[in-house]
Chain length 276, copies 2
Amino acid sequence: MTVRIFNGTSPIDAWPADARAIAYGDGLFETMRVHRGSVPWWDAHWERLVRGAQRLRLSLPGQAQVREEATALFDDAGDGVLKLLLGRGGTGRGYAPAANVAPIWMLSRHSLPTSLPHAKRAGLILRWCETRLALQPLLAGIKHCNRLEQVLARAECGDADVDEGLMLNHDGMVVSATAANVFVWRDGRWWTPPVDRCGVAGVCRSRLIPALDAIEAQLSKEDVEGAEAVFLCNAVRGILAVAQLGARAWPSHRAVDDARRELARIHPGFAFDLTP
Amino acid sequence: MTVRIFNGTSPIDAWPADARAIAYGDGLFETMRVHRGSVPWWDAHWERLVRGAQRLRLSLPGQAQVREEATALFDDAGDGVLKLLLGRGGTGRGYAPAANVAPIWMLSRHSLPTSLPHAKRAGLILRWCETRLALQPLLAGIKHCNRLEQVLARAECGDADVDEGLMLNHDGMVVSATAANVFVWRDGRWWTPPVDRCGVAGVCRSRLIPALDAIEAQLSKEDVEGAEAVFLCNAVRGILAVAQLGARAWPSHRAVDDARRELARIHPGFAFDLTP
């Protein structure tokens, strides 16, 4: 991991010990796929960051500087993952956020995950998580740094033979995987749960809804288990077919292949060779 | 602020950039009142930390080392506030927590707040917060570092003439202030809301429930507004009388004075001179 940290516009060596990101998870993040040194979905990530910053009243760094530093991290024109973490500035103990304080932000470069679609051609093995997502409309949709629910849910998927976990909300409706959104194929079209009371409005999800003419709707466990096909998606790994969820197994499905072709059309990083 | 940070048993200069406390708020904290160099409620704070660590499956540092370092921070036998922040160890991107990794932890020394009871003799001015607490039994009661709800709620109390805000849960029942528990005097005894679905099991609250023979029960807004007396409490500031909540005002009340005397009896740091 290569990393650069800034307080406002100035580089710093490390996070201040009393940073609010450490004390309260008082921040936002974006995890971006880098393809040949560039971030094809930069604008979409930045827009979500702006929405999150408005919701939390966080100050933003200048986009030009962030982009310049991001480019410098990938000046070898390589592939990988770029993470941006934006923390509220200001110091001292206490929940009260200071107004108009420059943010502390960090860019880091990471390798591509090993479980990209071409390495998971057979599809993911999922389980239902016991950990449920609380309903909090004020924090729903944005990618904030309060992620203990996801940490607890992911810890449930510790078995080597389970790739990811699906989470329900407080009311028992399906929301997402711990680190990906979920789409199901039913009645000849794609459906995905809303993210207005909990969950994250994934950048890949937001791109796929119009591209696949998908419908946002409440989905029950039975709706997912009874679907003809299921995939997970996020902005790093693209579309990952689901092969199994508990006792339910799915063979490969034409609709998932079509969705992947569509995704490859709108993001060059996801043009994997998936021919059998 | 004086601060010491450790990775396992070894001192480090700063939090690692990829610490999970920064990325996900994956940690716990305790904020303790120090009286003449010692922490009278150390055991109670440590017990809550242990309960939180069990819930999140966090590794704990050795209590003896933590206590030794805490004592060193207050080797002038001064008064103040000691904060302990315990973060999950391990590095790398992704929610999956590594098992059995040494924690990263931090002790910091802070001044006493300016709004101690003898400085707020007239009582606090409160408001109702719009920000509600989501229901999440898995995280309720413990003092974890996912505190965006409290940050948003506290930001609502930005007016100079408002001291704190009272928060309701998702179902509209009263839980606590943003950084204190709440007790109300009704029918000749003290009542305080449960903290099993959201909120923090405050150390001061836990000591006061038996000491005041208080009852844990669901309280509505009307129950609080209709009470004969109200106080907030936490382990740093002790008992703070409430003078006003929106349009409702309370004169000083004998039951609050009695509760303060009881608290002074069980914690020497809270033996303020409160004679008029």
